[in-house]
């Protein structure tokens, strides 16, 4: 006889194998050893997955929730060897009962009288109330879905704010956005940003490496009519300082980030497969919501999230952490955001919106347009041409 395969060995370990297989295992040292190991594993599983927990002593079947008094009466009736309802006898409705003195027990009771139909109706009404109405009422004010949490979070993100909002956060980029900033190899940034909600378009965004070196600093100030972008490339600091054309109202970098977050959370909300759990954070309860994979509509989606998760503060539905991974226009990307500090209504000095000068920086000035990136390219080329003519 051939040695036993895993399936037959398993059957033997489970007491289901054939006599022939058992005889073989008894005579074959190798199969005997495998059988003992398999049996030990199954014993482990049995012990681990059969926890020594008992139904609570006060466990009551819900259909009994209104009938403790009656239950005692029934118990007494049964001791006399007959079916008894409260004050009535006969045939009628059927129900489950559990008794305080008889743990994990219930009674199924036939009862009735000439008025059995009223009793039955009363019991049916009680059952409906206990089984359907009460849970429905309770659910209405005691539960909230992942979708609702996400919706509140999106509302919070897009809510109109007043005053100055300051945020500090860690940003980790991967894929295309990371490749767009080649100087920062690991794609990890610490970001400080201030938005003046009372002056539309006024903001400052500054990113730093983990060791505190500035990567970029961008500001727009419609009052001073200046747009400044400072960054370093291959160790050289540059500063593009341009006038802000009147009426120019571009989407700022913080706004683009916020909109991306909003859109991602909206996609998560649209997914029917959210997983939500509550965790205790340093400042209170947090909702952690995750969706395994979501795509924008269509068979060939332009935006696809293979993973998305968000951590939301239960106090105000603000986003504490946010991470997405997927592809946009078929290019892979990932983004992770972790909030460090968030203050609305902050008090900042007036120069907080100004980009500080860097030592040895090359300053390029000129007139700005509605397209900031275009300005940088045009001004850089113009400065290059001027330098060439000067030589």
């Amino acid at each position: 006889m051939q040695c036993l395969n895993d399936e037959r060995l398993q059957a033997l370990a489970d007491g289901e194998g054939s006599h022939e297989d058992r005889a073989h295992a008894a005579s074959c040292a190798a199969c005997g050893a495998r059988l003992r190991a398999r049996a030990a594993l199954m014993t482990s599983i049995e012990e681990a997955l059969n926890p020594p927990v008992e139904l609570p002593a006060d466990f009551r079947l819900k259909a009994e929730a209104t009938g403790e008094q009656e239950g005692r009466a029934v118990a007494a009736g049964e001791q006399e060897g007959r079916a008894v309802a409260t004050g009535e006898t006969g045939n009628g409705a059927t129900r489950l009962r559990a008794f305080p003195g008889e743990s994990r027990n219930f009674r199924l009771q036939a009862e009735g009288s000439r008025r059995w139909i009223y009793t039955a109706a009363a019991i049916a009404a009680s059952l409906v109330a206990v089984l359907f109405v009460v849970p429905a009422v309770r659910k209405g004010d005691t539960t909230v879905s992942a979708s609702e949490i996400l919706a509140k979070s999106v509302s919070q993100l897009s809510a109109v704010k007043r005053g100055i909002e300051v945020m500090e956060y860690e940003l980790v980029l991967g894929g295309v956005p990371k490749e767009m900033i080649p100087d920062q190899v690991d794609g990890t940034y610490r970001v400080w940003q201030a938005i003046d909600h009372d002056v539309p378009g006024r903001f400052r965004f500054a990113s730093f490496t983990a060791d505190g070196r500035m990567v970029s600093s961008i500001s727009e100030d419609p009052i001073a009519k200046r747009r400044v972008a400072a960054f370093s490339s291959e160790g050289q600091a540059y500063r593009f300082d341009v006038t802000l054309p009147s009426g120019a109202r571009n989407m700022s970098l913080p706004e683009i980030e916020r909109l991306h977050m909003e859109a991602s959370i909206a996609i998560m909300q649209a997914s029917g497969n959210q997983l939500v759990e509550t965790i205790d954070g340093p400042n209170g309860r947090l909702y952690r919501i995750e969706v395994p994979r979501v795509s924008s509509p269509g068979s060939n989606p332009v935006w696809d999230l293979t993973e998305a998760r968000v951590l939301i503060d239960s106090r105000d539905y603000s986003v504490v952490e946010f991470a997405v991974q997927g592809s946009l226009l078929k290019s892979p990307y990932s983004l992770s955001y972790k909030q460090i500090r968030h203050v609305v209504g902050a008090s900042l000095s007036p120069d907080a919106f100004a980009v500080p000068s860097q030592p040895g920086e090359i300053v390029v000035t000129g007139e700005g347009s509605a397209v900031p990136s275009h300005d940088i390219v045009v001004l850089a080329l113009r400065a290059l041409a001027q330098a060439k003519r000067a030589r």
Binding site: A13, R38, M42, T43, L49, P51, E54, N105, Q274
Partner: protein
Amino acid sequence: MQRSTEAARDLFQAHGTAIYRFAAVLVRHREDAEDVVQETFMKLLRHLEAGGDTTNLRGWLFTVAAHAARDRQRRRARWIPWAPEHETAVPPPSLEDEDGRIRSARTALGRLPGRDRLLLALRAQGLSYREIASAASIQPASVGRLLARAADRWAAAVRNDGGSYAVLERRTTPGAR
């Protein structure tokens, strides 16, 4: 009707705890496990009163409990206790677990595919292959093979978690239930 009520009562006394333990492994919270027991025996009562098949009621009970546990877990994933602002209510208590075995076993179990989880939980309650096949809606001839794979995956998951089961070293009687 009297016969069905007595049968239901007997089945509750015989299997109530087993169903509770089975549910306790599949769901996270004690109150969910209790709800599974509630739902299972309420359905049993209706099943008996309707004159349903009684040839394998133990398997039937575990089938109903498995579905109820799965539904509860899905609901838990989508619905959570609502905490109004500044409300300090705590989430429902988990099952008591003095030595952490349930937790580690359940953690490892949670990494397995749904069918593996169900098969192992059914096996842990001492169900026969016929009963397991019925409850898990699989062919009886496949139970051994699928259980062997599930057990191997569970053991690997426990080891990956850094867990070790002293009982693995213990001598056991093959086939003993």
